[in-house]
Amino acid sequence: MSSILRGEAGTRHLLMGNEAIARGALEAGVCVAAGYPGTPSSEIIETLAGVSAQQNVYVEWSVNEKVAMEVAAAGSFAGLRSMCVMKQNGVNVGSDFLLHLAITGTRGGMVLVACDDPGALSSANEGESRHFARMLEIPLLEPADFQEAKDMIKWAFELSEEIKNVVMVRSVTRLSHASGNVIFGKLPEIEKKAFFHHEGSIMDPLQGPMSSLPVVHKHDQQQEKLKQAVARYEESAFNAYSGPRSPELLLVTGSACYLYSKEAVSLLGVEDRVGLLKLGTTWPLPPKLLEKYLGLTDKILVVEEVIPFLEENIKISAAEFAARVGPKTFFGKREGYIPQVGEMNSDRVVSALSKILSLEYEAVPESYSQRALELSNSGAPGRDLTFCAGCPHRASFWTIHNTLQMDGRQGFVCGDIGCYSLAMLPTGFNTLKTLHAMGSGIGLASGFGKLAQFGMQQPVVAVVGDSTFFHAALPALINAIHHQSDITLVVLDNSGTAMTGFQSHPGLAVDATGNQAPAIDVVKVCQAMGATVRVSDPFEPEKTQQTLFELFEIQGLKVLVLKQMCALSPEKKAKKMFEVSVDETVCIGQACGCNQLCTRIFKCPGLNWDKEKQVSKIDEFICVGCGMCASICPSGAIRKKEVA
C-alpha cells in the first residue's frame, strides 16, 4: 500500500481508485484525514494511515462519520487542508453537522469523499449521497476514471479553498475498488501550520468565530460561493464532449457510467451517431456548458446509477433553456430506458441505445448463451454467503438461536451492521429478524422491550459488533437503560472492525496509524450505565447458553459480551487453537440420530461429509481449529486436542 509514495512525478502506476484518491489528497498537501470504515471507502484512510508518518498527516478512524466530519472541519478551521471519508450512508450520519458546516463555510480546503455502492455489492442499501450536495448546497464532483480520481481530489481542495466551503467528491464501488493506470503529480513541500483565528467579528469568515449565525446572511454567502463554483465548472476540463458535431442522440453521463457508456457506443459502433457528454462537475450543473451541448440535438439519453439525479437536474436546465434550445425528448429513468435500481454496466447502456436507435445487438450466438446458462445452472452449485471457518459469530448465533428455541416464547433477535448481518441467512441459522442502520438493532430492541403493556411476552435480544457498539449503539443503549426496557444486548466482540478489514476502533489499544491508544472497555461502559453485564466465550456454548438463560430471568437491561477474536485476524491466523479430528469409529453417521448436525445444520466450511464412509470429516486446509464442532457433536466423535 505504501507504494503510493514510490515514484516521481510523471511516472505511471497501477492504482486502486481509493489509492488514487489518497494520492490526490497527498499531492494536495492534506494535513488531516478522518473517516469511519465502510465498503467501498475504507482503503482511502488505510492508505493515508500507512504514510501518515512520512508525510506528516494526522489520520484517524473516528468513532463515526459525524465525528469524522467534525475532526476534519477542525483542521480546516485551523487553516489546514482536511478530508473526511465515508461510504454512502455515512453521509446520512454526518449530515446534521454537514448542514451547519455548509452554511458556516471553511478555511483550509476541506473535501468530503463519499463512496456510494450502487447495486449494494457490500451494503444493506444502495442509498445515494449525491442529493446531499443539492440539499445542503455544496459543490459536487464525480470522477469518471482513475486518473480523474486523483486529479479531481486535488482540484477539489483548490476549489474549496477558493470558495471557502466544503466540496463533495463522490466515488462509486466500481471506481473505488477497481484499479487503473494513474500518472503521478508532485508531492508538495509545504509548511503545515495550524492556528484557529477566532478574535474577529462573527461576520468575519476568516478571523471570527465559526458558526452558521446569523443564518440568513451566511446562507446568502453560501449561495454566492456556489455561484463561484459554477463559474469554475464552466471552464473545467472534467467536463468533456466527444462525438460528431450534430449527433442524432446526446448521451449525458458521469462517474463510472462514463466508461460503460463509452464502451456501449463502441460495442454498437455508433460513434458517428451518438455524442457523449461526460460531466465531472455534477452539482450545480454549469448552465452555459449544458446549453451549448443540449443545443446539438433534440434527443437526450442520461446514463447514471440508481436515482435520476443528473437526469432531473438536466431536465430542469432544459426547461430553463427551452426558448433557446427548443423542446427535447428525454430517454432516461423516468421514460424506462435506464433502470432505477441496481448498478450500471455496458450491457444496460447497449440495451438503452439499441432501443432508441432501433439496433439489433447479440453479444454471442443465442445457442451458445442458452447452453452455457443451462450447464452452469445444473453444474455450478450456488455459493450462499457463509461465515468463515472458525468464525466466532457462527458459534454465537448457534447458541443464541438454540437458547431462544428452548425458551419457547418465540423470542427474536434485532440485527445490526457487520459480518454478523449474515445471521439473517442460514449460515447464522436465520437468527436475525430485523436489520437496518448502524446501531438500529439496539434502538429497535429498546422499543420492542417497552411493548409488554400491550401484551408482548416475547424475549427481545439485540446483537451488536464491537465497532458498531461505539459508532451508534451507545445512545440507543442509554435510551433502553433509562426507559427500563426489558431486553438482552449481546455484544459480539471480535476485537476489530472485521468486515471492512480490521480497522481499529475505540475499544482497541491501538489507533489507525498503529500507535498505542487508550482502549474503552465495553464491559465497564455498560456497567457504569447500570446494565447487568456478563462475559462469555462463544466457543463455550454450554456456558454461554446457561448465561443467556440466567439473563432472560432478570428484569431490565442485560448485556452479554461474547468475546472471541475474528478467525481472519492476523493473531488468530498465526496459530490453531486445536487440532480437530473425527474418530471414524465413533461417528455413526446416519445411525446417530443427530441427522448430520455438524455438516447439515452447523455447516462450518471446515467440515465435510464423506459420502463413501458415511462419516463426518475435517478439511485440513479450511479448518482453523476453533474446536466448536467438537462441542456440538452429540456422540463425541469430533475430537479436539489443544495445540501446544
Binding site: R6, L14, T39, P40, L121, S122, D145, F146, Q147, T173, R174, L175, H177, A178, S179, G180, N181, L259, Y260, K262, E263, N345, S346, D347, A363, V364, P365, Y368, S369, R371, A372, L375, S376, N377, G379, A380, P381, G382, R383, D384, L385, T386, F387, C388, C419, S421, L422, P426, T427, M499, T500, Q596, T599, R600, I601, K603, P605, L607, N608, F621
Partner: protein, 205 residues
C-alpha cells in the same frame, strides 16, 4: 514504453474463484506485470461481504489505449483463469463465447449447500467436458496439489499465472513477474514464487 500487439484490444481476462482464494492478489500481479509493459490495465473487482464464501471475480481489461470499464460486457471474455472448477462454469454462462480460452485449477471448494448435502458437486470429468464444449481451448491444472508439494496451497495461484504466461496470448514476462513481486516479497519467498511460476509455465507446455 514499447507497445504490444494484443490479439484483441481490449483483451479481456476474468480471474475467478471463491472468496479467500487470493483472487485479488492474483489480479493485481497480472495487472502489474502488464502495466509494466506500458499497457493500459483496468481491473474491476468486488470485495466485502462477497468474500465470505461467495464467488468472486476480477475483470482485467488490457489495452494499448486508455482505461476501459471495470466490467467486461456479457459474452466478451477472451481468457478465463479459474482458481476453482465450478466457478469457470459460472463465468462461462455470462461472459463466455465460442472463442474463449479457459485455464482451470482442478481443486474444488465445496459450497455450503454441498457440505450440507442440499446440492451435488459435479465430477471433474463432467466439468471438463462442459468447459470443452463451451471454449476454444482449455487447460485443467492440478495447481493446488502441486503447490502443496511446495508447501503452500496459495502458490497454486502463482502457477496459474505462470500457466497464463505459458499459453502465450498475453505479453506476460517472467522478468515483470519478478519485478512485480520484488516490491513486496523477501528474497527467499520470491524464489519460491518464481519456482511456482516456472512450474505453471511448464504445465501448459
Amino acid at each position: 514504453m514499447n507497445r504490444m500487439n494484443l490479439p484483441f484490444d481490449p483483451y479481456n481476462v476474468i480471474i475467478t474463484g471463491v472468496g479467500g482464494q487470493g483472487n485479488v492478489m492474483a489480479s493485481r500481479i497480472v495487472g502489474n506485470m502488464l502495466s509494466r509493459k506500458g499497457l493500459s490495465v483496468t481491473i474491476g473487482e468486488t470485495f466485502g461481504a462477497s468474500q465470505r464464501g461467495g464467488s468472486v471475480m476480477s475483470h482485467l481489461r488490457i489495452s494499448t489505449g486508455s482505461s476501459w470499464s471495470p466490467q467486461i460486457p456479457n459474452g466478451k471474455c477472451h481468457l478465463i483463469i479459474s482458481l476453482e472448477p465450478t466457478e469457470a462454469m459460472r463465468v462461462l454462462a455470462t461472459y463466455g463465447n465460442p472463442n474463449v480460452k479457459v485455464l482451470c485449477n482442478t481443486r474444488p471448494i465445496h459450497a455450503i449447500g454441498v457440505i450440507s448435502g442440499d446440492q451435488q458437486y459435479p465430477d471433474l470429468d463432467e466439468i471438463t467436458a462442459w468447459v470443452a464444449e463451451l471454449s476454444e481451448a482449455f487447460w485443467f491444472l492440478d495447481a493446488t496439489e502441486k503447490a502443496m508439494e511446495l508447501g503452500n496451497p496459495i502458490l497454486g495461484n502463482i502457477m496459474m499465472i505462470g500457466a497464463a504466461a505459458g499459453i502465450g496470448v498475453l505479453p506476460l514476462d517472467r522478468k515483470d513477474f519478478e519485478a512485480a513481486l520484488a516490491e513486496n516479497l523477501s528474497a527467499d519467498k520470491l524464489e519460491l514464487n518464481l519456482k511456482a511460476y516456472d512450474l505453471g509455465v511448464g504445465m501448459v507446455q
